[in-house]
């Protein structure tokens, strides 16, 4: 059980690093998909099957597809790889890397001091419990999110609406 977790986490960390360092946008996105899949496995392992399934269906299966869709339409070739190459200089990444290293040290200190115990006491949360929690305790958040999505939908509809000048079919 434990070694599966460590293996999946290693895959997640390595693939996420590859997302950052890869110069070809589509290859980087493929690593991102791998990273999302490994996170889904970790969710499943810790007793949250619904979260795992939604991670794959929504993030890996829909959102990433749309992003690749857009990148494909832009049709970037070797020029964009060269551009990425130029951008990934030490003076651009050294600042954020140092700052996040501080956060990493803090996290390691916290975990090793035992304040956040990486205990085995997780419990299984099935789809039913998630549904009940969403539509009772978190109903306000669900409603707010749905209003936001509706606003987005109406906005997209307005932008993509047929003008009179377009050819009638």
């Amino acid at each position: 059980m434990n070694y599966i977790f460590y293996l999946t986490s290693a895959v997640a960390v390595i693939s996420t690093a590859m997302v950052i360092f890869h110069k070809n946008a589509v290859h980087a996105l493929l690593y991102l998909v791998t990273s999302l899949l490994s996170v889904a496995i970790i969710f499943y392992q810790f007793g949250a099957p619904l979260a795992a399934a939604l991670e794959v269906i929504i993030y890996a299966g829909a959102i990433m597809v749309l992003i690749i869709f857009v990148i494909m339409m832009l049709n970037q070739g070797d020029a964009s790889v060269a551009q990425e190459q130029a951008w990934l200089q030490p003076h651009t990444w050294i600042g954020p890397a140092l700052l996040s290293a501080i956060l990493l040290i803090q996290l390691i200190l916290l975990v090793s001091s035992g304040q956040i115990s990486a205990s085995q006491s997780y419990h299984y949360i099935g789809p039913k419990q998630v549904g009940i929690a969403l539509f009772s305790h978190y109903i306000l958040a669900v409603e707010l999110a749905s209003m936001l999505l509706l606003a987005g939908l109406v906005g997209a509809f307005h932008l993509a609406r047929h003008r009179k000048t377009t050819i009638e079919e």
Partner: protein, 318 residues
């Protein structure tokens, strides 16, 4: 090794091998049936009734030059056809074939299948992108838009079944149909899922991503040899998977009188596969904008209505 381990191994490899072999046989079966319905012989020369055509095709695919274009994005080009085969075969792991045949009993089986079918989209998109060819690109753009739109109500149409059975587990869904098949209360769900299934497996009339009269061969224009074969077999695997799923979700799975459960499952699935082929023989291709309009303006509202009505009736009678 103990007996139970052998049974598990038999289940795993049995399901794997039978599905791949079935998909291979379907390449011949489809052409024969199409020929029958279109009043022509179809492949009937190799072996009795052309049954050895599958082997002839396989030999041809294996010995043809497997050409990888220089302008392609080579790692992605090789990855793309494997994705569709792998995801479709993994999805079969949760399909319960009879009371004691089936690879695994996942508590979120239905969601697992939906997840695998949404990952399968990558094979088309990446194939089209990596080919670096305008026909392939157009084909995969169509495929991406089509699959993402039809996936939305594919999931929604199944939620009625989930509400009636109270579970995402496919085995429990089959058990819940012991008294009556879900196709009766969920006829609309069945109809929507069937159409979405055709669109997901990109079969005629929804095969615009590979419409040969306008896009050469769409996303697999640049593919040859066994890589093309994998796309081809992947499509048949998708057809078998969708048929097996419809059997499980709407047609009572292995339930049926007199005959043993396994035979019932095979009969229902085979009938649905024939229906897929009959549709290909009978229905012409729509235009691309008609396809998208149909999806978003007809199927999605219908799926939502079905969901609302099922939930309302369940709450009323509860």
């Amino acid at each position: 090794m103990s007996a139970s381990v052998w049974i598990i191994l038999l289940n795993v490899f049995g399901v794997l091998i039978v599905t791949v072999v079935l998909a291979a046989i379907l390449t011949w079966g489809e052409r024969r049936l199409l020929g029958f319905w279109q009043d022509r012989p179809g492949p009937n020369r190799v072996g009795k009734f052309g049954t050895l055509q599958v082997f002839a095709d396989m030999i041809k695919l294996f010995f043809k030059e497997d050409f990888t274009p220089k302008f392609a994005d080579i790692p992605v080009f090789i990855l793309a056809p494997t994705v569709v085969m792998a995801t479709m075969l993994i999805a079969f792991a949760v399909v319960p074939i009879s009371p004691n045949i089936g690879v695994t009993d996942l508590n979120i089986g239905l969601l697992f299948v939906l997840a695998m079918s949404s990952i399968a989209v990558y094979s088309v998109i990446l194939g089209g992108y990596a080919s670096n060819n305008k026909y392939a690109l157009l084909g995969s753009l169509r495929a991406a838009a089509q699959t993402v739109s039809y996936e939305v109500f594919m999931g929604l149409s199944l939620m009625g079944v989930v509400m009636l059975s109270g579970s995402f587990n496919l085995r429990e869904i089959v058990n819940a149909q012991a008294e009556g098949w879900f196709i009766v209360p969920q006829f609309l769900g069945f109809f929507i899922f069937f159409i979405a299934g055709i669109a997901e497996s990109r079969r005629t009339p929804f095969d615009l991503p590979e419409a040969e009269h306008e896009l050469t061969a769409g996303f697999h224009t640049e593919y040859s040899g066994m890589k093309f074969g994998m796309f081809f077999v992947g499509e048949y695997l998708a057809v078998i998977l969708i048929s097996a799923l419809i059997t499980t979700l709407f047609l009572g799975g292995w339930h049926g009188p007199i005959l043993p459960p396994f035979i019932w499952f095979c009969l229902k699935t085979a009938l649905l596969i024939c229906l897929f082929i009959l549709l290909r023989a009978a229905i012409p291709r729509p235009r691309y904008d008609q396809l998208m309009k149909f999806g978003w303006k007809v199927m999605l509202p219908l799926a939502l209505l079905n969901l609302l009505a099922t939930a309302g009736i369940l709450l009323w009678t509860a």
